[in-house]
């Protein structure tokens, strides 16, 4: 069978398009449960901070958020490991490594956030409540620029909703973030699952 250079070039382009799409679908499917988990954590965390403003605080630590973050990291690691096991049957040892990498990545993120808070000393908890979603939005947007439009759109949505709540609804910022911020993450997770 003879093939012209033009047909060869077209086939290479098709391969590149398909591989990009395959990686995108793979990333979306793997990321979807994480969006739902962290969306629910935002809902509970922000709602708790609004309804019970002094509950859980001790020695400057908000134990409600601390517990939720530990729960989120653990759930993300368990799901990451389960996904790996399902996609690579018979590679249990490597699955454990994936779980550990999830824990390390999320722990690194939270250590960074806590270090920034310690240096910047926010004047009230709402500042932290706006700063963290903006960092999360940045992470999604940067990842999306390289790996998939839907991550970029999620980052833009989270940043925009956070800023709308902060500037236009300062008195209701915490319930706004519980309903709209957390809700948008949950919806993003469901949207990614559908791909």
């Amino acid at each position: 069978m003879d093939l012209s250079p033009g047909q060869a070039a077209e086939s290479l382009k098709e391969i590149e398009r398909t591989q990009r799409r395959s990686v995108e679908v793979h990333d979306y499917a793997n990321a979807a449960p994480g969006f739902v988990i962290w969306g629910l954590i935002w809902m509970f965390g922000y709602a708790g901070s609004y309804l019970l403003p002094n509950y859980g605080f001790s020695h400057g630590i908000n134990w409600l958020w601390f517990g939720l973050v530990v729960l989120g990291i653990t759930a993300s690691a368990v799901i990451g490991r389960r996904q790996h096991r399902a996609q690579h049957p018979g590679e249990a040892a490597r699955g454990r490594g994936i779980g550990a990498r999830w824990i390390a990545s999320l722990a690194a993120f939270w250590v960074f956030v806590i270090a920034v808070m310690a240096v910047m000393r926010p004047v009230n908890p709402a500042v932290s409540g706006a700063f963290i979603p903006l960092v999360v939005a940045l992470v999604y947007a940067l990842f999306g620029i390289w790996r998939g439009l839907r991550f970029l759109l999620a980052g833009i949505a989270v940043a925009a909703l956070t800023l709308v709540g902060w500037f236009w609804l300062p008195e209701y910022f915490l319930p706004w973030m519980a309903a709209v911020g957390g809700g948008s993450l949950v919806l993003t997770g469901l949207w990614l699952r559908k791909v």
Partner: protein, 97 residues
């Protein structure tokens, strides 16, 4: 120069192979997701998967997940090598390899 691999060169099979090659080695891809990536009908995709399986390029695993039948596909070692040779052939046509 080696001959063109006509099994892989068919457009739908080329997409199947490319989609699987983009994943980490040994990773299984669900039939429903592959269908979305390749944008083929179920019957058409099934026929081409069978051709690739018979050639030893892919492996098909069928099981149940949440009480629903599930079909998953992965690239075999032989398939990975054949696809790399095929891409090399195309690049050779363009003088880039």
């Amino acid at each position: 120069m080696a001959d063109l691999n006509t099994i892989i060169h068919q457009p739908v099979r080329l997409k199947i192979m490319a989609a699987l090659k983009a994943l980490p080695p040994g990773e299984l891809l669900e039939f429903v997701r592959l269908k979305k990536i390749v944008e083929a009908t179920e019957g058409n995709l099934g026929a081409h998967i069978q051709t690739l399986e018979e050639a030893g390029y892919i492996a098909v695993e069928k099981d149940f997940a949440d009480n629903r039948p599930r079909t998953r596909i992965k690239l075999s070692r032989e398939g990975r090598r054949a696809f790399e040779e095929y891409v090399g052939y195309l690049r050779g046509m363009l003088g880039s390899e």
